[in-house]
């Protein structure tokens, strides 16, 4: 009897407090000489390779800006949390950053499905979120006022672009398409179907589990359909298995490997059955130029300078490292554009108007009133296991959120 009234009173009190707090919640995390940015990425566990160095890259950009005097006299203060790449932990990290560390904006997220879990919360609390390297389609479409991302490429754009390349460059009418039965797969297939229909090509799809160990069955089925081009949208391990199985089954047509699998090319060749299997392989690339080219050298130099100890280790920097830069650049540019009287609203408005060349990615970083995905296009490189040869032009997906 008493319990109920106590609970009702408590509920009322909490509601009143929440109401009172929002009135005060202006320019959170901003002081005359500091702006606090909350960063999060997988720093441990199986997905750490997607996050650690991406976050490091973003931080080294912030450090550079700080050394140059900050933005409008403010130093950027980064607060870092591990999101473990899973939804519950990511939400915990985000809430900690927002409600305990009182950050001005969030700059984080390497795992799409997990980032989506935090999206409603971010929107409800009106906190700007600039993703790191997550494609994050689920949080970008439909567009909302607070979340920006896809600095590498969105999965929709990746799938659509790969099919566009297959249909336009090879004139293919029968395209075999292998993706995963997870969120990534659902997103890229969505745009791939759209693109195939637009080009009048048939798409033969096999959706496999990311844990698959034996790809014989799906590959035999695809082989039976006699495709002209094979598009692989899977992660690195299944992609290598598929390339190898394609060779075993005597498929000699072109193979297009999406950016999801191209983290470690040398390892991919070793895993996929050696140069023999790579006679006719094209890889999707979202960086400005061929990996290791002079044009991108400054990125790696900067990393080596910022993290000399880390850089001396085997496997560093991790492959996705450069993707952290355009994301951090967007944050600093928007802070700059928002002017000295910094508010979240101004920051968001500035983000919406961004259009710049990062010097890192294939295309410009460009948002707009209805667009929250930074990058739409990809380039393609013929790779035989040793040398790379760029296919002229870039290939964009036509799918747009309706």
């Amino acid at each position: 009897m008493g319990m109920r009234s106590v609970r009702a009173a408590l509920l009322g009190g909490v509601l009143a407090m929440a109401g009172g707090l929002t009135a005060l919640a202006q320019e959170v995390g901003v002081t005359p000489d500091r702006v606090r940015i909350g960063m999060f990425a997988p720093l441990s566990g199986p997905s750490a390779a997607y996050g650690q160095d991406v976050l490091n890259a973003a931080r080294m950009w912030f450090d550079k800006i700080n050394r140059e005097g900050g933005i409008h006299g403010r130093q950027i203060e980064a607060v870092v949390e591990d999101d473990r790449c899973n939804a519950n932990d990511l939400v915990a990290a985000v809430k900690k950053l927002v409600e305990q560390s009182n950050v001005f904006a969030l700059n984080g997220g390497s795992c799409s499905a997990a980032v989506v879990a935090a999206s409603d919360y971010v929107v409800r609390n009106r906190v700007p979120l600039v993703m790191l390297n997550a494609s994050g389609d689920g949080a970008l479409f439909p567009p909302n006022d607070y979340i920006y991302g896809a600095f590498s490429i969105s999965q929709h754009a990746a799938g659509g672009s790969a099919v566009e390349f297959a249909a336009r460059h090879f004139n293919a009418r029968r395209i075999a398409y292998v993706n995963h039965d997870d969120a990534y797969g659902a997103w890229n297939l969505n745009a791939a179907k759209f693109q195939a229909e637009r080009r009048g090509a048939g798409l033969n799809v096999q959706s496999i589990s990311p844990n698959i160990t034996d790809v014989t069955a799906p590959m035999v089925r695809l082989r039976a359909a006699n495709p002209e081009v094979l598009v692989i949208m899977t992660y690195a391990r299944p992609a290598a298995l598929i390339i190898r199985k394609a060779m075993e089954l005597g498929y000699r047509g072109p193979i297009v490997v999406a950016v999801n699998a191209t983290a470690d090319l040398r390892q991919m060749v070793a895993n996929g059955g050696g140069p023999e299997a790579f006679r006719n392989v094209y890889i999707q690339e979202v960086l400005a130029d061929l990996p290791g080219s002079a044009r991108l050298q400054w990125v790696y130099d900067m990393y080596r300078q910022a993290y000399p100890q880390l850089a001396s280790q085997e496997g560093r920097p991790q492959v996705y490292m450069p993707y952290g830069l355009p994301s951090a650049m967007s944050v600093t540019r928007a802070l700059e554009a928002a002017g000295p009287e910094l508010t979240r609203e101004k920051f968001l408005a500035a983000l919406q108007g961004l259009d710049f060349d990062s010097g890192v990615m294939a295309g410009p970083i460009r948002f707009g009133p209805r667009n929250r995905a930074a990058q739409q296009a990809a380039i393609y490189i013929k790779y035989d296991g040793a040398t790379m040869e760029r296919v002229p032009g870039s290939f964009a997906s036509d799918w747009r959120f309706e």
Binding site: R7, L10, M17, L43, R84, N86, E99, D182
Partner: protein
């Protein structure tokens, strides 16, 4: 035949004196918990909400494994069913919060009853592996039944409402989560002391003797399974009150294992243990986020060391300590 032992009258239950001694701190703890949102950040309240969900999950798993001795490994599946039932009840039927919670519990319990009826023909390892397989199959279903669960895209959970008020953040959800968790805790204590609780333990200790006492062993086992599924379902419903999104990824064996670890670290077969395990282990896991590099190894080491040196879990150790202090 063992030699005559001087029976140290090992009290199997706390004396009433001790119970009174525990009552005061317990009330104090509840009051402190109730006031939590007033003096902490939303993040802490979120962590508390998650911990309370784990408490309900642990209480449920302890009923079937600890009390009734049936090794079930499909807890995450029932938890998932609870989340989806509550979310869909809210989204499609527009049910209020209480309705969603009940729906979550009842749907999970019904399915638990059906699965229990089939799986409980097996015992021990076979039961464990059947329920494990069921859990994996359910996760696959969550991932592939797109029209209902959203499949790999996950499912957005709309804000639930209580007495016409929308619950939009953790602090608003907290009183509900805490209230329901305490209710479930109370129910667990009552069940554990009741005739049914005694029947659970009888089945655990010796099913042959239980039968001879007139206990319908099979029905009691199914009941334990069903109740445990109900708890998991309610826990899922609670999760849905303060979360905005659910993805099948978080409903796999890993989650079952986390809950099992909580129950075992706390002390299998004891309600207090389930409570303690969920809180302690949940906190450790959240704190370990600060030390990413060695997380997995630390987690593994904790499990192994516990099994080697504190095999009965924390609850008996703590109650020994409390009793020891009482004598001083």
């Amino acid at each position: 035949m063992p030699p005559q032992q001087a029976v140290a009258a090992l009290p199997a239950r706390a004396s009433s004196n001790l119970r009174l001694g525990l009552l005061v701190p317990a009330v104090a703890a509840v009051v402190a918990l109730a006031l939590l949102p007033v003096f902490t950040s939303g993040y802490v309240v979120y962590v508390a909400n998650v911990l309370l969900v784990y408490v309900v999950l642990s209480l449920g798993l302890n009923l079937v494994i600890g009390e009734a001795g049936q090794f079930s490994l499909s807890h995450a599946a029932f938890y998932g069913i609870g989340i989806y039932a509550a979310a869909l009840g809210n989204k499609l039927l527009g049910l209020p919060l209480v309705g969603c919670l009940l729906l979550a519990g009842v749907v999970a319990a019904l399915l638990g009853g059906v699965i229990g009826t089939i799986a409980l023909r097996m015992r021990d390892i076979y039961l464990a592996l059947t329920t494990f397989a069921f859990g994996e199959a359910m996760q696959w279903l969550f991932l592939n039944w797109e029209p209902v669960t959203g499949g790999p895209n996950g499912l957005r959970i709309p804000p639930s409402s209580l007495f016409g008020v929308e619950i939009l953040n953790d602090k608003q959800a907290y009183p509900v989560v805490l209230g329901v968790a305490l209710l479930m805790l109370g129910a667990t204590v009552v069940i554990s002391r009741s005739r049914l609780g005694r029947a659970f333990r009888a089945v655990r200790e010796s099913d042959v003797a239980a039968m001879a006492m007139g206990i319908p062993v099979r029905r009691v086992k199914i009941m334990a399974f069903l109740l445990s599924a109900f708890y998991a379902g309610v826990a899922g419903g609670l999760f849905a009150t303060f979360s905005t999104y659910i993805h099948p990824e978080s409903l796999g064996f890993q989650t079952t294992m986390t809950v099992l670890t909580m129950v075992v670290v706390g002390g299998l077969g004891s309600t207090g243990g389930a409570l303690l395990g969920a809180v302690v282990f949940g906190l450790i896991s959240e704190l370990l986020r600060q030390a990413p590099a060695v997380q997995e190894m630390t987690y593994g080491l904790i499990l192994i060391l516990f099994m080697m040196f504190v095999p009965r879990g924390l609850a008996p150790a703590v109650s020994r300590w409390v009793r020891g202090r009482g004598h001083v």
